[in-house]
Subunit: 404 residues, 2 copies
């Protein structure tokens, strides 16, 4: 079993300017591959400190993955640290330089001289393909140990990790699989969920974790026995109300919604008030969504609700913009205006201002038109403005998803 160390090079992380999302990406993908991460170190952009870290951990680890500090500017020192530690010189690679020149060919900028340093690779290191940016990944193999260095920019790190690093590790190690299964729930607070399932216990070979997120709770079961993990998962599924389980593992509400819409052959429109476009943005994050999503309206003012969606003035003045009646006319308005089979509409008070005793911040009406016709729900969401927006969007997608 390979022992793996991840080293993040980053003053910015240590100074709190950047949250290290690379750590969780690498951690998640290594666990899924059955070769989990053992330790992470975040160290400054400093040749001596990077070399010291390598010095201390080199013998203890089989694989070291290092990220950050591969850019072209003076504060990028990772390659120098590697040269210092491994006793190498930088070699200019003409093929990399040509590739960099091609990447710049489409831009309106001239290629600066400094970009040439991106084509320099430590002697005996193998450059790893990076189609997202100009800095190649770097790979060195010595005494059965694998050393990788990748840029810190998440999209570049992710590309090289999936394209080069993971395949190489899987070739070299025979992973001991960790079986894990996540039950993803919406609408039930963690305390209720854990109390109503407290008779379900971990075994020697399994672990159970409750991971609350705004408006949702993941229940993660993992361990070395696939059989025991599935038994525990089955118990949870039996003891949790069906409608609150929206998926498993990497399922997201947006993702399931997208898959079901793609398969349905139906078309969709939307009318958003308090979410301000977020629902439609989540839908269109999915490639291919233009096949079913035809468009929608962000009716942020009463005028927009009336003039574009045809909400009646009498409805707005009698019931208000945040009401079952207005949301009903918004759903029907969007459906008719854009001429779609299905539609989704929301109106609510995202806060922090605008709440009253009768209609407090977090009050949101969600209307959907799906296979059984109109469904309208009244919801009370807690949290900040952004949290109310996010919860509304996910609950709305979930409300229509069960109606696709």
């Amino acid at each position: 079993m390979a022992k793996i160390l991840y080293v993040a090079i980053g003053n910015e992380i240590l100074m709190g300017k950047t949250v290290n999302t690379n750590e969780s990406f690498i951690g998640e993908h290594l666990v899924a591959a059955g070769i989990p991460l053992d330790l992470t170190i975040t160290v400054k952009d400093d040749v001596a400190m990077i070399a010291n870290t390598l010095n201390h951990y080199w013998e203890q680890y089989d694989v070291i993955i290092m990220s950050g500090g591969l850019g072209p500017t003076h504060d990028d020192v990772t390659k120098h640290a590697m040269c210092a530690f491994f006793g190498k010189k930088l070699i200019f690679h003409n093929d990399i330089w040509e590739k960099i020149q091609k990447m710049y060919a489409n831009k309106s900028f001239d290629l600066p001289e400094i970009a040439k340093t991106q084509a320099e690779v430590p002697q005996d290191f193998t450059p790893l393909n990076n189609t997202i940016g100009t800095a190649p990944g770097l790979y060195f193999y010595k005494n059965s140990k694998h050393f990788f260095a990748v840029p810190g920019v998440p999209s570049e790190m992710r590309f090289i990790f999936e394209d080069s690093i993971l395949p190489l590790l899987l070739e070299n190690y025979h992973p001991q699989p960790l079986f894990q299964r996540t039950i993803r729930t919406i609408g039930i607070p963690e305390s209720i969920l854990s109390t109503s399932t407290q008779q379900i216990k971990e075994t020697q070979k399994t672990k159970i974790a409750f991971l609350p997120k705004p408006g949702m709770v993941d229940i993660r079961v993992y361990g070395t026995s696939e059989d025991e993990v599935s038994k525990i998962v089955k118990l949870f599924v039996q003891h949790i109300p069906q409608q609150s389980i929206y998926g498993f593992d990497n399922d997201t509400i947006e993702g399931i919604f997208h898959k079901k819409m793609m398969a349905s052959g139906k078309t969709l429109s939307a009318a958003e008030s308090c979410t301000g476009g977020l629902i439609q943005s989540l839908i269109t994050d999915n490639a291919g969504s233009s096949e079913y999503f035809k468009g929608g309206v962000v009716s942020y003012s009463n005028e927009a609700k009336m003039e574009i969606l045809g909400v009646r003035k009498a409805t707005l003045s009698r019931y208000g913009a945040v009401s079952r009646e207005t949301v009903k006319e918004m759903v029907l308005g969007a459906k008719e205006l854009i001429g779609t089979d299905y539609a989704i509409a929301v109106s609510g008070i995202a806060g922090p201002d605008g709440g009253t005793n009768e209609k407090p911040v977090g009050l949101v009406y969600i209307g959907t038109w799906g296979k059984t016709g109109l469904v309208i729900t009244k919801n009370n969401f807690s949290g900040t403005r952004i949290e109310v927006k996010n919860k509304t969007a996910l609950y709305a997608l979930r409300q229509l998803e069960v109606e696709i």
Copy 2:
């Protein structure tokens, strides 16, 4: 000057289930206090590994802050690791137990027996007050070294850090304040920016860092001399094209846009194609945006462009949906439909499919109507679908922001 190490205890972090936001919180607050963080280590919930880490780093560091693994369940082992390393026993503190009982008095469920372990503190350690949760922070002082352990739950960690740890550190160390200033730029690649400013050099008391983000670069200048930091910042501002500097320090494009719109007294509408609602969602993330933002359209299909926004069929068939001409009609259509002073419209190819040689993925037209009237730009964005959406949204807000 104190050398500070932060140790995160967390299987969840190493397995990629949790992003370590505690690291950036601690990093940011220590920098602001003038006693920056030197190193971070993330280690498993494992007594031997935690003790090994302390063993290796204890002599090198003046301050160690450890988070996580202080909960009541079997997988919380941090206190046992501390006892093993420091050679201590756990002592039951009755006053903590009484406090825990009080905290549970308001809850609707009974206090479980297991909660008693929360009142156990290693011998000679000082408990630190935690009003958010049941686990107290822990403090130990030995040979001029300070050791802290806090729960991993962010809200509890933050409370104890601000309430106990930071005041204690500031009493013991005489921080050298760090002055920092960030210049935030958009539209110029890092290598061009660094080349065109290469005559600006760090001094003994200052550092310069280039921090690339998708489509944007931050230039951060920091050091112990306020005077030298401002001199260097001034030089950068002189050498960078004015229009590419959108702000300083914690400024965001969305934030500046919102402030200027609030002050303008003007109204705004939007018509989005490839961003699918993201621009309007960013605008409405700001409390108070309903004062100027009246609504908009997500015209994801040609039909929606024609029927809602009044884009002409001839324009779409002659120039295509992604064209200067279509975007022009979208801006004017939104402005007229919703009756606003200003408007913003985008049409482009977010990818990954849908690109051609003539119109590749990442081609985006941005149209804005601001104080000087119509402005349309042609942009070529690189990256994933989500990155193209994000870059388009921020560039569009910036394009109108200079026209408010």
